[in-house]
């Protein structure tokens, strides 16, 4: 087996790392911050200083070294005071790259465009908000549309802005050709993955794994800049497919949509991946593989569009432990190149679980369920049993279970608070980069969100970050 595949394996839990237990959401601190765009301009771009530039994929670590003391519940307040005064060891060690990224110059979006805005239950940090569609109008793919309809990300560097602009222009100038290109990647299984649409951006590359260093860098650093356009392409193609399915006989087994939701992860953390390897007999006319980055906000839109056409939708949700899943993100980045920023990763769990819970409890979902147009379930894989790699008689996921449903409404467990998930992801990034297993472009891809794109929001969850980023401007 090659190293890249091994990279997707969950790694051994370091002793003393935080257990996955629901934690009461702490009140969020709001503190005024100087916008990063006011930071002193620096010309330098690319690899942050102080990060080993090892050209090795992240292969996981079996270290048992504890990188942060885990507080007992009773010691929580004491721990917070202690933590805020000196910062976590991982954050301190990553201060260099964080400052470097914070100092990067930013470029404004084109005139006339709006900004992607995060708002609980309404819009994710990146992408095209829930029901918004571009490139599809009056029952068909548009001939062309105004590129300003695609919202833009805040605080992108000039290079990232150029990627974003180029991709949105390509789609807007010829939606039909772009959607056709995307459909070629989607293939005859009709699994609509947002990330596959990024292959329509030529520099991203055309295969599952990056073909050269240029594609590796684009996949590590351009995920955020390309995401809104990618969602637009996938949504337009998906609507086109729903129109085709609407013409199928009412009893055709494939006249049904599957939507898979859950936080950002890879391999066995993703319901779509589980079905890719083991669903020869399941027939769905279309599967919407919701990118975790969308925070499960597309569900209402999908239900509305499918219901309009009389097509039933099954919503599947995989509950995972965000305190451990960033390992899978790092593993996937090592093999496939795509790096998810740790802030979008965090929101994909915290906001995603909240939005999924709201959705299945909503009157729209319940009404559709009563009409036979919607169903849902949730699954919890549990912890990976590392011993199962050596001993094939042991179950890889001995704790896996179907989460209970009541009246057809599946339970969606709560998530730990965002700050804890972010701190844990920082530990894993630090661990991998300290071991020389994380190239600098992947470190940039993981940290750019908290250091440059959404520093104010990041500092609400990780208060000591404020001091680091303010220091970067001096």
């Amino acid at each position: 087996m090659d190293v890249s595949r091994k990279a997707q394996r969950p790694i051994k839990q370091p002793a003393g790392s935080p257990a996955h237990a629901p934690v009461t959401q702490a009140p969020v601190k709001t503190e005024k911050q100087v916008p990063v765009s006011q930071a002193p301009a620096v010309v330098e771009k690319g690899a942050p200083a102080g990060v080993p530039d090892a050209r090795k994929a992240y292969a996981g670590s079996t270290t048992t070294q504890t990188t942060q003391n885990t507080p007992s519940v009773g010691a929580k307040n004491l721990f917070l005071r202690f933590d805020m005064s000196i910062g976590s060891p991982a954050l301190k060690r990553l201060a260099g790259p964080l400052k470097e990224i914070a100092r990067q110059d930013t470029a404004p979006p084109p005139p006339g465009t709006t900004q992607v805005k995060f708002e609980t239950a309404k819009g994710a940090l990146i992408g095209l908000p829930g029901a918004e569609v571009t490139g599809y109008k009056d029952g068909k793919i548009a001939e062309k549309f105004d590129a300003t309809a695609i919202p833009r990300q805040p605080n992108l560097t000039a290079e990232e802005r150029a990627w974003e602009t180029s991709f949105s222009n390509k789609f807007a100038q010829n939606p039909r050709a772009t959607v056709a290109e995307y459909e070629a990647h989607v293939g005859d299984k009709h699994i609509f993955e947002v990330d596959l649409a990024k292959r329509c951006f030529p520099d991203w590359g055309q295969a599952s794994k990056p073909a050269n260093d240029g594609e590796k860098r684009i996949r590590a650093e351009a995920n955020t800049a390309l995401h809104a356009t990618a969602v637009g392409i996938a949504k337009a193609a998906f609507l086109k497919r729903l129109d085709e399915m609407a013409l199928m006989p009412a009893d055709a087994p494939e006249r049904q949509v599957l939507v898979t939701s859950g936080g950002c992860a890879a391999g066995k953390g993703s319901l779509t991946d589980l079905l890719k390897v083991n669903s020869p007999d399941l027939t769905f006319g279309a599967t919407w593989d919701a990118a975790g980055e969308g925070d499960a906000l597309e569900n209402r839109w999908i239900l509305q569009e499918a219901s309009k056409r009389g097509i039933p939708v099954m919503f599947g949700y995989v509950h995972n432990n965000p305190m451990e899943q960033f390992k899978s993100v790092l593993g996937r980045a090592g093999s496939q190149g795509r790096m998810v920023d740790l802030m979008t990763f965090t929101n994909s769990y915290v906001e995603g679980a909240r939005n999924m819970k709201d959705f299945v409890a909503s009157p729209e979902f319940r009404a559709a369920r009563e009409k036979g147009l919607a169903s849902s379930f949730s699954l919890f894989p549990g912890k990976f049993n590392v011993e199962s790699i050596k001993d094939k008689t042991q179950a890889p996921y001995p704790e896996m279970k179907v989460l209970p449903s009541k009246d057809g409404i599946p339970s969606i467990p709560p998530m730990p608070e965002s700050g804890k998930i972010m701190q844990r992801a920082l530990e894993l990034i630090d661990e991998a980069s300290s071991a020389g297993n994380l190239p600098s472009h992947l470190v940039t891809g993981a940290l750019a969100g908290m250091a440059r794109r959404w520093p104010d929001l990041a500092a609400q969850h990780v208060p000591e970050l404020k001091g680091i980023l303010n220091g970067a401007r001096q």
Binding site: M1, R5, Q8, R9, A177, A180, E181, E183, A184, H185, G187, D188, K189, R199, Q206, A207, S208, P253, R255, Q256, L258, G267, K268, L271, D273, L274, L275, K276, V277, N278, S279, D281, L282, T283, F284, P312, M314, G316, V318, S375, S376, F377, L379, P381, S388, I389, K392, A395, P396, Y397, M400, V402
Partner: protein, 61 residues
Amino acid sequence: MKPTKTPPAPPAKKGPARPEDVLKAAMDALAMPQEEFDARLDAFEQERDRKAQEALKNLKK
């Protein structure tokens, strides 16, 4: 007397997938050894990539 040959049963008509069918497929995949899972996922993606390249060539024609 010649034994009569039993005609093969017609294939069962596939109905729409139910949540329990999807859950079973997912749980069976979770129960697979990691190496087998990785190999199957790799094979799926390679085949999809290969078909995509063919389809893209046809688009350019």
